[in-house]
Symmetry: C2
Subunit: 327 residues, 2 copies
DNA sequence: CTGTTGGTTTATACCGATAATAAACAACAT
DNA sequence: ATGTTGTTTATTATCGGTATAAACCAACAG
């Protein structure tokens, strides 16, 4: 087959919504260009969508002067728009396997199997895996199969080390930002959001997703002070790991979140006062607790397969075959 | 078509060499298992190779008791073994385009075009590009085409920043290594190699490749003290950039190399004396000169296309679309 | 002359099929 | 029993082909 037509589907739905909301029956339909801009796509999917709507009798008078013939009913909408591009879907399937522990850390798995599960071809899976390997969570040997990296103490330590280094550096950079840098303004907003969420948590409302989003924004602001693409790249990995990891390490979640938020707050307030050394100290605290929660939760989980018997003594650094074509 | 058969070809050649060197005519041929181990592959390519040699009359008596019928002649060897797996070949073609400046930084390019040049299918190219994007040298927009990142002052600065951070940290780690860590032993060897190359350069012999290899080893030893997969991953990128970059920035090469080697030496000697603070100071020096040479050489080169007109205001962080399927 | 729609061309994102490899198993010889 | 080779199966690396999306150009209306 070919490309997924999720753009077409999504576009169709958006057009329908737009018509229902803004265009009375009998009025001329919006122009193709307008709809394309509105949906953020090129004209091609808009045109196929429009043709589709023509066939379903929602839009009449093909050609220059299209007319809205009737308003859409519920069954005119596509209902499976959730599924984005193939890679996104495959990622979901894959992470689902990981989180259900059907795939254990250290274990091998095959493209074919994943393809069956995801209901797509091996090519699509393969391309997803190659890209996903950036995360350091999976690796493959030159001719061999894929393997889920052991998500163990060592992995966590390496991740945390790197994180410490980057964030520490980032905070000192932050202090050096120009006085009218927009980042300073963002801090105020963050402080408010932190206080709000803390209050909500104390009151029993507010839950994981809010924390997760806020946590992410907090670290992103810090990290962006470095304005460095390599740092950001690495941070994508960090966020990813934390995101999925927390999803199944739930016990004591509320308490942990509260601690984290308070620590964030102290850092933010210090920054807000332009007190860089204090911010650095508070950050160090925060990183320490973050590290230990991560390590604790890892101790708790299943061991996985662990290291495989290293069949030839010098297993490649595993994450990455080097970029350079050597040999 | 299918997989490339470079393993088969390489294996054939290695078997021929082995026979020529170690097995007299008329003697029984080595066993399949032995040859497989010798060449570091599985039995399959060995068997196809053996069959091939049978057809060419080099090995007689098919079956259990294979006999070497005659020694190989020059034309029995495959001559295009150089070409490794597709990805390696594509990488060569691609970097060639970049270095010849047929592809300018900031410019778009298409999978199809690269496929034509490399003589392979778009799938192969696509998979190469996805993996190669880790380097941060290319990026692609969600539905759009690929683009060679501007290799400009900013790129270099970000790279150097990251490098400084990592190596500085690495050196302090190094000092904390156990007294019988093998790394200490490696230092002695490195010092010797540095002195030798310096002497050779003074005498007019010795050239780029030697320096490049030595430089790489030096930094690898430092970096490996961190024993961190993410750091190593990033370092693959650094080595890659430097490797290719130096290949076309040749003026003043000898002088630069000599300076670098001397700086390395001072660091190594300090480490050898277990004088960590001094090593750190010297490292800082070295990083500073490395940074400025890199920046200088960038000033010198063509400007490329530069930033494109940012059609929608919030062009994605460009290097990486985030790992998480969001939306 | 600006904005609209209708075609056309090129490129990407997939799929299905196939050769090359790896891995496992069976048969056999020493 | 252990090590051979022959056979089968599973999986990767690759290709060619196709539907969708983007970009371009022409025709035309206000």
């Amino acid at each position: 087959m070919s490309k997924t037509d999720h753009l077409f589907r999504r576009t169709t739905n958006e057009i329908l919504r737009y018509i229902a909301d803004h265009v009375p029956v009998g009025a001329p339909a919006p122009t193709e260009n307008f709809l394309a801009a509105h949906c953020g796509v090129s004209r091609s999917p808009v045109r196929t969508a429009l043709a589709h709507l023509g066939e379903r009798g929602i839009i009449g008078g093909g050609g220059q002067a299209r007319i809205v013939a009737r308003h859409p009913r519920a069954e005119d909408y596509f209902d499976d728009v959730a599924m984005g591009p193939r890679a996104d879907h495959i990622e979901k399937v894959f992470m689902d396997l990981v989180l259900r522990q059907e795939l254990l850390p250290g274990q091998r798995f095959s493209e074919a199997e994943l393809a069956r599960r995801a209901g797509s071809s091996t090519t699509a899976v393969r391309e997803f895996l190659i890209g996903f390997a950036r995360s350091g969570l999976i690796a493959k040997k030159p001719q061999g199969s894929w393997r889920l990296q052991a998500f163990d103490r060592r992995f966590a330590t390496e991740l945390a080390d790197m994180r410490d280094m980057l964030e520490t550096q980032a905070v000192t950079r932050f202090a050096g930002l120009g006085p009218d840098d927009p980042a300073w303004a963002a801090i105020g907003g963050l402080i408010a959001r932190h206080r709000a969420l803390l209050a909500a948590l104390a009151g029993g409302t507010g839950h994981y997703k809010d924390f997760s989003a806020l946590d992410r924004d907090f670290h992103n602001i810090i990290i962006n002070a470095m304005d460095n693409r390599f740092v950001r790249e690495f941070y994508d990995v960090v966020s990813f790991v934390f995101h999925y990891h927390y999803q199944w390490e739930r016990k004591g979640e509320r308490a942990r979140n509260i601690v984290a938020l308070e620590e964030h707050l102290r850092i933010l307030e210090a920054l807000d006062r332009r007190d860089a050394p204090e911010a650095a100290r508070r950050l160090a605290e925060h990183l320490a607790t973050a590290r230990s929660t991560l390590l604790d939760s890892i101790e708790g989980m299943g061991e996985g397969i662990g290291e495989e018997p290293e069949e030839d003594g010098h297993e490649r650094p595993v994450v990455s075959r080097p970029l350079m074509a050597s040999r």
